[in-house]
């Protein structure tokens, strides 16, 4: 077992993990943050996407031991207790969520995208979204929701 110290959703944490533990499993099983979903577990679906130092990464393709000193943000860290984030609210408004299994990975990915590229156009949103598989919605509502949510990121410090 290895001790790893990193930050999750703004809080310092220390866990003892086997080197083979993925970041996804560490978040879900050791830290109880089950908002991060695992579908394929080998990097093709995007369901497990979290932010590491602000960048969207697949947590099933990342080891927990690699997180020493990093700042991880999961879906739980993107909204406060008392409300949805603008991106989440737009997803709700547009009906961009059905079963919801893919949703945390898509919200984290789109949050990372809009934080660094607040003026991303529809082609760019679609290109980035192509790394996340949704088997329910058909994506149309998600694209509309993301485009609408851009306003909340524009003018905010990147």
């Amino acid at each position: 077992m290895r001790d790893v110290a990193f930050e999750v959703n703004g809080k310092a944490c220390r866990v003892a993990v086997e080197p083979r533990t993925t970041l996804a499993d560490c978040l879900r099983h050791d830290l109880g943050l089950t908002g991060t979903h695992v579908a394929c577990a080998h990097g093709v679906c995007g369901a497990c996407t979290v932010l590491v130092d602000g960048e969207a990464v697949r947590s099933c393709l990342t080891l927990a031991v690699q997180m020493e000193g990093a700042a991880v943000t999961t879906i739980e860290g993107l909204s406060s207790e008392d409300g949805l984030s603008p991106l989440q609210a737009a997803f709700r408004k547009h009906g961009a969520v059905q079963c919801g299994f893919c949703t945390p990975g898509i919200i984290t990915t789109m949050h990372a995208l809009l934080t660094t590229e607040p003026h991303a156009d529809e082609a760019r949103v679609r290109e980035v979204l192509s790394g996340n598989i949704c088997r329910c919605t058909g994506y149309m509502a998600m694209v509309a929701a993301v485009l609408e949510a851009r306003a909340a990121y524009q003018g905010a410090p990147a």
């Binding site: 290895r2 086997e18 080197p19 083979r20 993925t22 499993d25 577990a41 080998h42 990097g43 093709v44 995007g46 996407t49 960048e55 969207a56 990464v57 697949r58 099933c60 393709l61 990342t62 080891l63 031991v65 690699q66 990915t109 995208l113 290109e127 980035v128 192509s130 790394g131 996340n132």
Partner: protein
């Protein structure tokens, strides 16, 4: 599947990393971005005793554009290449091919050293290396050596890298101004593994192609140049008829694998079509 058990180390120098690779039972593997290695572990296609994480070694993420060529460190990520202001002019084929590498999240961690060390036949970076006459820089327990890309990729997930060696970088020769090039790839979802891909480049002298390079990925067991297609192109004026002929030569030269994604015949035909289109793009025929 859960990953097999392994030990984990974070050396802070290349020497220390190589010593760790050499010390064990020969199954230790370097870990760079992990975007190829982690799926291989998840499928249990490999079961290393130790992962030697390179993230603590300074300097492996440098990009140096010079007179003789472009040197890229092994830990340069796809997103670093996308964001680099000078690479599109210095190495246009590299930048064009990288546009087909995986998806947004993978590009944040995946590195060119990891891609080349694993040598997936469908991966773009080994194809760039071969198509551009790249030279890989390796360091092992016995010292440093350079290996030409054409001698490095031996087959699916098989390279000339010894168990105690590390890729530290690659040099792509300087790209002359005005060089003609094209790259075409087809995958069922953009960013997924290529069913086939073709890179073409040549210099134009008096309206004729000189220094013709035609390289294939995906529809083959390792990225390679197609001598028959290059011979057709060399010294010729690039026309639609020639592009079609080059396409046929590429199709005839490959013996693609067959799997649930495509038959061998489909991949062969695809490689030919992509070669024709790449050459048409290079020659401004499209």
């Amino acid at each position: 599947m859960k990953l097999p058990a392994f030990d984990y180390a974070t050396p802070t120098s290349i020497g220390e990393a190589v010593a760790l690779l050499a010390a064990g039972d020969g199954s230790a593997r370097p870990l760079s971005g992990g975007q190829t290695l982690m799926p291989l572990l998840a499928f249990r296609l490999t079961a290393p005793s130790l992962l030697v994480d390179l993230r603590g070694i300074p300097g492996l993420d440098a990009v140096e554009i010079g007179e003789a060529g472009t040197r890229l460190g092994a830990r340069v990520r796809w997103c670093d290449i996308e964001a680099h202001a000078g690479l599109a002019a210095a190495q246009p084929l590299l930048v064009a091919m990288i546009g087909h590498v995986a998806h947004y999240q993978i590009r944040k961690r995946g590195t060119l050293g990891g891609s080349m060390a694993h040598a997936d036949p469908a991966a773009e970076m080994p194809g760039v290396a071969v198509a551009c006459d790249g030279v890989l820089h390796l360091v092992g327990a016995g010292g440093a050596r350079d290996v030409a890309a054409r001698d490095f990729f031996l087959g699916p997930l098989t390279t000339a890298l010894a168990a105690d060696e590390l890729i530290v970088g690659i040099t792509l020769p300087a790209w002359p101004h005005g060089r003609r090039w094209g790259f075409q790839e087809f995958a069922r979802r953009r960013g997924d593994f290529a069913l086939a891909g073709v890179a073409v480049h040549y210099d134009e002298v008096g309206g004729r192609a000189v220094g013709a390079h035609v390289a294939v990925i995906g529809a083959c067991s390792a990225p390679h140049r197609v001598a028959a297609a290059e011979a057709l192109l060399e010294g010729s004026a690039v026309t639609s008829a020639l592009a079609a002929e080059v396409g046929r030569a590429v199709a005839a030269s490959v013996s693609p694998p067959e799997d649930i994604h495509a038959t061998a015949a489909y991949r062969r035909s695809l490689a030919g079509t992509l070669a024709e289109r790449a050459l048409a793009a290079a020659g401004g025929l499209a």
